[in-house]
Symmetry: C2
Subunit: 196 residues, 2 copies
């Protein structure tokens, strides 16, 4: 993986991001196997090794969030939505940053496949990275996704990517396996003076 990322903090969505490929875990509550998405555990370990504060946030009920996140590392902060105004209000993102004691907004990044959460991140002033393949815009389980042929995957991925860029997110990747390179790219944009 690239060099240590010079970022203040990373916030992740839960469903369709760290776990629950396709982001359908709320519909299938209790029955869905809450496996980490491809790359999720690697990228969390890498960020933890470089001491980048991380948290997940989601607007599911606390109990359901606990169920979905049980395979994630214990050091990862869980920020429940609580009484925050619903996405796309920025409140849940700011609350997450406060809960992990970040000192400044500068260098804080949100990664999610959910357009509503990404819009909340944009409203909060965060760098935002959209996930095209594993979020609710594609809405398929990992098995369903892999069962598609290349052309079908490309079409779905292309549509989701366009929709995410249409929101105004700063980068779009397919899934978390591409996150380290994406952060390196945003790091370069920050060095050049770009702001979210």
């Amino acid at each position: 993986m690239p060099h240590a990322p010079a970022f203040t903090a990373l916030l992740f969505g839960l469903r369709g991001c760290l776990v629950d490929f396709g982001g359908t875990g709320l519909d299938a509550a209790g029955t869905v196997a809450a496996r980490p998405t491809p790359g999720a555990l690697d990228v969390l370990a890498w960020l933890h090794r470089h001491q980048v504060p991380c948290a997940w946030l989601d607007d599911v009920a606390a109990e359901h969030g606990k169920h979905l996140s049980h395979a994630l590392p214990g050091w990862l902060h869980a920020v429940h939505h609580g009484d925050a105004r619903p996405w796309p209000a920025p409140d849940a993102c700011w609350k997450a940053l406060m809960q992990i004691d970040v000192a400044r907004l500068d260098g804080c990044v949100l990664v999610s496949g959910d357009p509503r959460l990404l819009q909340a991140g944009l409203n909060a002033g965060l760098w935002t990275i959209g996930l095209a393949a594993c979020g609710p815009l594609c809405g398929l389980s990992q098995e369903q996704w892999q069962a598609l042929d290349d052309k079908q995957r490309e079409r779905k991925r292309g549509q989701a990517t366009l929709q995410l860029f249409g929101l105004g997110v700063h980068s779009v990747i397919d899934h978390l396996q591409e996150l380290a390179d994406c952060l390196a790219d945003i790091g370069q944009r920050r060095i050049k003076g770009e702001k979210p």
Copy 2:
């Protein structure tokens, strides 16, 4: 005054900004006459007329804040510091924005004469306007300030201005009578794509 400001919300400090010229009201608690600073009521009325959400925030005790703010208009939101991490942590600024239900960080501005609060605003990702003459950096009452000769005032104002720009604030003005022009200038910078 200039045209309606295209801003999402304005946050003000209390001491050394809206009231308590010189920002010494905590030392003189209970005895200081909590008069609005020059220009404060005019600028609040102008912002209210243009429906720009406004609030003051300060880290004084609630009771003392109430005493100091009694001459301010009733529609103005008072955001007490509560259990927020102390300035310069960004939390108090984000809490204020949440309390006045702002939809996005973009276009939110903090005005203060207090370097610690301005640093909190910078950390929260706000546009920041420093007040050189009426904040704690000059630290004089309005009468003491007016009793200075031009040269003395210029020296104090110059030192405070340098210190505020040294923090990284986006603009520095002497007092709130210059705020409308300053906002017009920041509005132009925003149109050109500048971000805080």
